[in-house]
Amino acid sequence: MAMTMRFFTYASPPRFYALAGALIPWFWIAALVLGAAGLWIGFFQAPTDATQGDAYRIIFIHVPAAWMSMVLYLVMAFWAAIGWAFNARLASMVARALAPTGAMFTFCALWSGALWGKPTWGTWWVWDARLTSELILLFLYLGYMALVNAIDDTRRADQAGALLAVIGSVNVPIIYFSVKWWNTLHQGATISATAAPKMVASMLTAMLLMTLACWAYAFAVVFTRTRAIIVEREREAKWLNDGAAA
């Protein structure tokens, strides 16, 4: 009983606002430290690749961005669904806060992928399953943002967005398994949960550090945006107007 109450404590906008405000600086510090470490190892420790030369170093931002684009979408869909199912307005606010950062990472994955593809594959773009489904992910993010902003009634907007987000979630496993299910130009999985990685340790370490850095960054920015949305929506609330909020 006590656990349940503590869990739902932060469903309250003012409490979440305060907690997020306290955590954000730590997320930024973590992002910068992990990012610096990841880039240091990626650019100064990891060796040059036998086939791709130094072009492969794009991997240290391309893969983390791609992973973030998928994870943030699922998280966005999750909170949007919770907000809809339980009429939990903070959950809907978090979903809206996730979208721009998720879209940003999707663009970054596509951009860095194109710049990696040109010297290595000989092309900026190809309509294979992985690239096409990642592009669709970008459209889903943008569509979600456009949809929730187009509807004036906040609650209806949140609900419509939740429907789009949840239905669009089917795209994420498609992106992930595309290299296994179809014949793609994009290479298959190098890292698996069950088998030993087929990458040099320093490359893998750099990639994982950069992923953690992107995750910490995402927390920092998404929490900041959530705080902004809370203030925008709770404008009339006493806790904001009587100077209690930090």
Binding site: D54, I58, K118, V231
Partner: protein, 55 residues
């Protein structure tokens, strides 16, 4: 140290345009994403403060 000079580092074995083109644009995107979010929060707080004074 795998780079013998700063020049080598920036050249990235001939792939400098692609590598720095990736990291540069992404760094800009990250900075813009963060700054817009921070500005949005500040603007919202300012609007609420102004609203509070008018009440």
């Amino acid at each position: 140290m795998i780079w013998n000079s700063a020049g080598e580092f920036f050249a990235m074995g001939g792939y400098g345009l692609y590598v720095w083109g990736s990291y540069g644009v992404i760094a800009a995107c990250i900075a813009i994403d963060a700054l817009i979010a921070i500005k949005r929060h500040r603007a919202a707080r300012a609007a609420t403060a102004a609203n509070g004074e008018n009440n």
